[in-house]
């Protein structure tokens, strides 16, 4: 991994050289918050006290998008598909948990069929991550095996040092991004400074939650009917806000909407397993009758089903689900409780 030094001016030039750059920007309605939004100049970017309120997901899987349009004619149905090629874009100062999430979701997007819209955008995007320094008590990336300095999903990972940034080039795409940039070789002092910053960042988040044990997924599967599920989600409203802000929740619903009786569009829209409608069948029967069952699904999918199928936990520990929850549900706390139950079971079976 090569390490280079980028001054603020170098980075400003890099932003200016690209047509579309997305970065955290101070939220209009709340000065303490940031959102990932397009910027014109480096000065527009702002790093907040917490992670951007919403993840990068919408830049790859928009809340709604047209898949095709159709028109009924005398001869039959005319179908027009949408282009799958996307405009090139750079995402600057991506949080490592958000960058990693994209790689995690790549797995399902390339399972059974390749999602051309997702990968069209993935291929057109270069991601410049930044060592996270905005963690709070709800962050638990290190429990998932990531960390505030994780390079996963980033093409270049920046660490703030005196006078600019230390840039670790991670992929050929990252190499290409910096090829036209006046980056110089990093000094030993800058490298040492970055190393200290990374260590400090890791220490800030490591105590928030214990690491998730390897056997946890299997325990969840075996304990699908554990009585603990019944009372775990009492305060959950079933509103699905957690899924909206989650960088890894990727479920969508496909609907046809008519513009007239002859023509219309087929769209896909974000969906969430936390709502009753998600599993409601045409007969009127709902296999997930109450919120306890819907919340169990959320945990099972993220920490058992997805790992079993793809070898990856479907969570990057960003903590947004805790921050956004009106009912005060807290994922690291819930995981801690389940892991304790799993350990107790193991202790008993070992005797």
């Amino acid at each position: 991994m090569t390490q280079r030094f980028l001054s603020h001016a170098d980075l400003a030039a890099l932003v200016a050289a690209h047509k579309r750059v997305i970065a955290p920007v101070r939220a209009k309605d709340d000065a303490r918050q940031t959102d990932y939004l397009p910027i014109q100049a480096l000065a527009d970017a702002a790093l907040g006290a917490a992670l951007p309120r919403r993840s990068l997901k919408e830049y790859f899987l928009p809340p709604t998008e047209v898949l095709l349009s159709y028109r009924q004619t005398k001869e039959g149905v005319e179908i027009k598909e949408v282009p799958t090629q996307a405009q090139p874009q750079v995402i600057l100062f991506a949080s490592p948990c958000d960058a990693a999430a994209l790689e995690v979701v790549d797995k399902v997007m390339d399972w059974q069929y390749r999602d051309e819209l997702w990968f069209g955008r993935r291929e057109a995007t270069t991601i410049v991550g930044l060592l996270c320094s905005s963690m709070d008590s709800s962050c638990f990336c290190s429990a998932i095996g990531l960390g505030p300095d994780s390079p996963r999903g980033s093409d270049v990972l920046l660490t703030q040092v005196e006078g600019g940034y230390l840039a670790q080039v991670i992929t050929p795409k990252g190499e290409a991004l910096l090829a036209h940039c006046a980056a110089t070789e990093a000094s030993a002092a800058a490298v040492a400074q970055a190393e200290t910053a990374r260590k400090q960042a890791r220490e800030k988040v490591e105590n928030n939650a214990p690491a998730i044990p390897n056997e946890f997924g299997a325990w969840l599967e075996e304990n699908f009917d554990h009585p603990a599920w019944k009372t775990m989600a009492l305060r959950c409203h079933g509103c699905g806000a957690c899924a909206s802000v989650c960088p890894t929740c990727h479920c969508f619903d496909i609907v046809d909407e008519h513009d007239s009786s002859e023509e219309g569009v087929r769209r896909r829209n974000w969906d969430s397993c936390q709502t009753a409608k998600f599993t409601l069948q045409a007969s009127g029967y709902n296999p997930r009758q109450s919120q306890s069952e819907r919340f169990r699904q959320r945990i099972q999918h993220k920490f058992s089903i997805y790992p079993k199928r793809f070898g990856e936990i479907l969570c990057t520990g960003c903590g947004r689900c805790c921050r956004v929850c009106a009912g005060g549900m807290n994922l690291p706390e819930i995981l801690g409780g389940l892991i304790a139950l799993a350990k107790k079971d193991q202790g008993e079976s070992g005797q």
Partner: protein
């Protein structure tokens, strides 16, 4: 606080209720608690961070809570209005819930904030509250604290919106509603949204497109807000639940103002007072009939 904990423990121990819905200290400030064991009643807290409306958990579509048995619920005056609403609209029987009312001195904007009440930190909906001492209760606890500081931000914003031309107002709301992702979190968190099937989810006919396009988002919020006219209790669970931070409290206040002007009705905690749109009155204005 001790009074509340002792009452909760007694109600549970006597078998008067099977669960007490109250507030507890959570990892991110105060949050809803469901106490079923009298020995756990010491977890209950009540202070200015108790922003949540726990009456929303009495909504009969929450089957996982119904199964716990008869509840007692800790309410502020504003929350008591939701209980009255559920009783008024025949969703729950008054006798099916034990109401523990707390005299309230206003709440903060966020449950995770740990600040003194000030004109900035106090929830805007507390401004001018006339329900700090609820009338709907089985038990009422605490001394009545002084009036909270007035946070005028919402009133100012509404005054600003009222001064706008229709085109300006439309562009304000279009900007806000373009962020709506139609997750319907506002509906799910609302104590008064209890329809078994929401119009937003009817497919035959499809009244509202399910996709989060601007025109459908407008239709959705218009329908939701109009359906809340004279029913909304201004607890703003909708606004707190919205993952896109859309200022839904502006709608709530605006529509409540319209109902008050038109029908002389304010959301109240007396279930015997009929909702303005739920009753026929010859006193209703009819100047629109020509």
């Amino acid at each position: 606080m001790k009074e509340l904990q002792e009452l909760a423990a007694k109600l549970l121990a006597d078998g008067a209720v099977q669960v007490v819905l109250g507030y507890e200290e959570g990892p991110r400030g105060v949050r809803p608690a469901f106490i079923t064991d009298p020995a756990q009643a010491g977890r209950l807290v009540f202070d200015a961070r108790c922003v949540q409306n726990l009456a929303t958990y009495l909504n009969p579509r929450r089957k996982h809570i119904v199964q716990l048995g008869k509840p007692a619920v800790v309410v502020k005056g504003c929350d008591a209005r939701a209980i009255a609403g559920l009783v008024r609209e025949r969703q729950i029987a008054r006798a099916s819930v034990v109401v523990i009312a707390m005299r309230c001195g206003g709440v903060l904007q966020r449950a995770e904030e740990n600040a003194a009440l000030s004109s900035e930190t106090t929830a805007a909906r507390c401004a001018g509250c006339d329900a700090r001492e609820p009338k709907l209760y089985d038990y009422i606890l605490g001394e009545l604290p002084p009036d909270p500081p007035v946070n005028a931000s919402r009133a100012e914003k509404i005054a600003l919106l009222e001064k706008m031309t229709p085109a300006q107002r439309k562009s304000f709301w279009d900007e806000e509603l373009s962020r709506c992702i139609r997750c319907h979190a506002c509906r799910e968190a609302c104590p008064m949204c209890f329809c078994v099937q929401c119009t937003a989810e009817r497919a035959l006919p499809q009244w509202i497109d399910p996709s989060p396009t601007l025109h459908a988002n407008r239709a959705w919020q218009m329908m939701r807000v109009l359906h809340q006219a004279g029913r909304c209790v201004d607890c703003l669970e909708c606004e707190r639940a919205c993952p896109e931070d859309i200022p839904l409290g502006l709608f709530a206040r605006y529509i409540a103002g319209a109902v008050e002007t038109r029908f002389g009705y304010k959301a109240c905690d007396d279930p015997a007072v009929p909702a303005p749109l739920g009753v026929f009155s010859t006193e209703d204005g009819e100047e629109f009939i020509r």
